[in-house]
């Protein structure tokens, strides 16, 4: 349970970092270490070089400009949780981040680390999908932006080459006050979720759904946006029947199965969690409407 020998590098700037990455053959980036370190301890991963980017301070920032929230890839999960700007503009982050691991892992774990590790049931990639986030990666030649849909190539495989590094994620926040909810089911609080569901919703004064986004994690190899259901819900009144409709259509998702949980079980969970998250989000939207 100790990592195999490696050479340790700790660049202090982004340019030092990309230079190193273009020169090293078999390097792994060490961000918060909450996924890579266990894999190295168990020797699932035995890189020749480890590039610790915890000293690259320019990757640790939170910016809110023109309704775009930009978060540096080395921003710690605990800092996102406690950030008031994020809570004011995108309160679902706090609810979702509370499900990410435990206090000891959120102290170290970063937003970029989670986006690169890409666990199918992880909350941060689900949030990125919910908000149609775009990610910026950099190499020695320059940078490129990738939409979250194109970022996830396959099971735990992000669209990034060995010479590139994820530097930030940018999210268009919802301009108007809105309802939100992130609900998940795990065997123990903070464990990897079996399934999670996130919803953002705006309703008008007549209780009609005017804008909605729904994401589900843990049913596919990547977070799944339910765009067909979203389109169907627009213009519908926020009633019990509407919730039941969302539930039954979510149960038809093509879900993965593994030795722990079957496809049918995940479909039922997805349906139930989506219904519950929509219900809570609508209730919160109503409270906002009544207060306003």
């Amino acid at each position: 349970m100790k990592p195999a020998p490696f050479k340790y590098h700790d660049p202090k700037t982004l340019s030092e970092l990309v230079e190193l990455m273009s020169n090293l053959e078999d390097a792994k980036i060490l961000a918060g270490g909450q996924s890579l370190m266990p894999m190295m301890n168990m020797r699932y991963v035995t890189p020749e070089d480890v590039i610790d980017i915890n000293g690259v301070n320019e990757l640790d920032f939170i910016k809110l400009e023109n309704d775009h929230l930009t978060i540096g890839s080395m921003t710690r999960q605990k800092d996102i949780l406690s950030n008031q700007k994020i809570f004011d503009k995108a309160p679902i982050f706090r609810e979702a981040l509370n499900h990410v691991g435990h206090i000891q892992t959120r102290s170290r774990g970063t937003i970029g680390g989670s986006l690169c590790h890409l666990d199918p049931s992880a909350e941060i990639p689900a949030l990125a999908s919910l908000y149609d986030a775009s990610l910026t990666v950099v190499n020695r030649e320059g940078s490129r932006e990738i939409h979250i849909d194109e970022w996830v190539l396959a099971y735990m495989m992000p669209s990034i080459s060995d010479e590139e590094v994820l530097t930030s994620i940018s999210i268009p926040v919802w301009k108007n006050p809105h309802g939100y909810a992130f609900i998940e089911f795990a065997r123990r609080h903070g464990d990897f979720a079996v399934c999670g569901a996130g919803t953002l919703v705006e309703i008008d004064a007549n209780d009609i759904i005017s804008k909605v986004a729904i994401v589900v994690a843990g049913v596919d190899v990547k977070p799944l946006r339910l765009s067909t259901l979203e389109t169907d819900l627009i213009g519908k009144k926020a009633t019990k029947d509407t919730l039941e409709y969302a539930c039954s259509s979510a149960k038809k998702i093509e879900a993965i199965s593994d030795v722990y949980f079957s496809t049918q079980y995940r479909q039922r969970l997805a349906g139930t969690l989506i219904k519950r998250s929509l219900e809570v989000a609508i209730e919160r939207a109503r409270i906002i409407n009544n207060d306003g």
Binding site: M1, K2, P3, A4, P5, F6, K7, Y8, D10, L30, G33, Q34, M37, P38, N41, M42, V50, D52, N54, K78, G101, H102, I103, Q104, T105, S107, R108, R188, H189, G190
Partner: protein, 159 residues
């Protein structure tokens, strides 16, 4: 071709310098180089929480952080909680409430709660259970640990 570095860490208020292999975890550095064996390594892959120490005010898993990454930082281990023979209120409360049996997980619970209670002076039972959700205990069933934490919170708030 071992890759070594000299590091200095402020452990429990005292600067400590050593020469370590870069692949060594902070937990192993504390135990093997500084002989502070109060920090227990359980699972060594970030699940059990026994190895929790406080780095620059934040509780972290010392099996998932390299010793070299703690260079220049302040670390508090379970040895740093008591003042000489005087137990910290959290330790006192664990003792009074029978918050441990075998004691293997205890350093992790103490350091986690130490950091949590410093920042949350009036926690609810639910908040305490959430705070210790990353620590596994196979002896107590957690009830006495939660009771101890609630007791300690009262004492710490009063002082």
């Amino acid at each position: 071709m071992a890759d070594n570095r000299e590091i200095t860490i402020k452990v429990n208020g005292k600067d400590m310098t050593t020469y370590v292999e870069t692949r060594l975890s902070l937990g192993d550095v504390l135990r093997e180089h500084f002989h502070l064996t109060g920090t227990h390594l359980g699972c060594e892959h970030g699940v059990c929480g026994a190895c929790t120490v406080v780095v620059d005010g934040e509780p972290i898993r010392s099996c998932l952080m390299l010793g070299v990454q703690a260079h220049g930082k302040e670390v508090t281990t379970v040895e740093g909680l008591s003042k000489g023979e005087d137990l910290h209120p959290i330790q006192e409360a664990f003792w009074k409430n029978h918050g441990l049996q075998c004691g293997y997980c205890t350093p992790g619970f103490l350091t986690t709660l130490f950091s949590f209670l410093e920042n949350n002076s009036d926690p609810t039972e639910r908040e305490i259970r959430e705070a210790i959700s990353g620590n596994i205990c196979r002896c107590t069933g957690y009830q006495n640990i939660v009771n101890a934490a609630l007791d300690a919170a009262k004492v710490m708030k009063g002082s």
